[in-house]
Symmetry: C2
Subunit: 259 residues, 2 copies
Amino acid sequence: MKEKLSVVKIGGNVIENKTELEKFIKLFANLEGLKILVHGGGKLATHLASKLGIESKMVNGRRITDAESPEVITMVYAGLTNKNIVAQLQANQCNAIGLSGADGNSIQAHKRPVKEIDYGFVGDIDGVNSTTISNLIFSGLTPVFCAMSHDGEGQLLNTNADTIASELAIGMGNIYATTLYYCFEKPGVLMDVSDDTSVVKNINTKKYKELLNEGIIADGMLPKLENCFHALNNKVTTVCLGNMNMLDKNNTLFTTLTL
Amino acid sequence: MKEKLSVVKIGGNVIENKTELEKFIKLFANLEGLKILVHGGGKLATHLASKLGIESKMVNGRRITDAESPEVITMVYAGLTNKNIVAQLQANQCNAIGLSGADGNSIQAHKRPVKEIDYGFVGDIDGVNSTTISNLIFSGLTPVFCAMSHDGEGQLLNTNADTIASELAIGMGNIYATTLYYCFEKPGVLMDVSDDTSVVKNINTKKYKELLNEGIIADGMLPKLENCFHALNNKVTTVCLGNMNMLDKNNTLFTTLTL
């Protein structure tokens, strides 16, 4: 039987809030078993770009990474955010190692082709290097990925953190039984968006179709759930959706997705 | 017999010059055998701090890292500079992995005590984690260190790159026969500072004392050579001083130091 591996994705809203980040660090450090963390960068990059007089462009909620801003992204995501998370995990007895996709050639990608929109230096993932990553894990290290891949020709590429997390969970699925945790603001998929206690605890393929037909899964949850089932259809064992408290083993209020 | 390991330190002057950096990347990628790179950050951090309205303070040529600038240092050294070097090494078939001292708890330090001068968030090294670093090397990875250590309590610390390189060479000396390469502007220790061809090719302890007495080793070379002999007295096999061309196996014009 394959050993278990947890891949946890945490969003920018937690990263930006010192108290929330400290709380998360403790929860993640205490999470039992083998694990990988993937973090977004959020508004820190926008703030820094603005201070430096670089305008951040967003199209459909996605950042346009133009000629100057890859430098800002690299500084904030791979530098400030990643290393502070690593240093804080170390302070909590978690032997973390911070990585971009260029480190150990761990996440290979190509620059997104220009069609209607030029997203700039944004990467679409070609593959993850599961051998190198599992060697790190085998050495007792906990990989902490920022949301950057590389093209193998010297260019770092800004890459959606949700996608990095699912591609890592999929790629590592060859070696481990992977569980993917998407931490976001809500405690899970809600029957009633205004009621945080109305969490749908279990969703399988059949239930997913029902919830889609009933319009319970809508708006921002549509791509998120699509992404989850893409992972489940590609060797990921389980996907969990909820706020960071789902990492606490005494908490059961979150959504678990299986095929 | 111990396997050979090269620890190469490159300074800010090369990092800042795109053409020089490209040339160095190729030389380092082509260097045979096991290897580690240590890079400074140089003036990029000062430029960024200045753009952000943070004044960089220098005392005796050492940066004072105050409450705000650790963030700038982390962005530039661990982010922009480190990841660009890693991505470029990957493009040259060198499987690099970028690290700060917090990553894998690889370089442990404490904040320098305040005496006459408060250096701010500057680290004095307590030890290097040779087991973790050799595991990375054994996995086929080439560690690339920026000039940052950590205190194990969540704080990253700005640390002199020359010192990181010598402490790494010393620490890895338990496992490997280490050669330390200090790349700087000059082709080596010169008999006549105005003549770049007057390189002293070999210096041992006896020759070192002679050169000191003759005043040939003076000014900035004094602490550099002291550092070299400190390494040699602590299990480092050889120290080489010269410009980056000393990494070219056809070049013999540099200074080799042994006990």
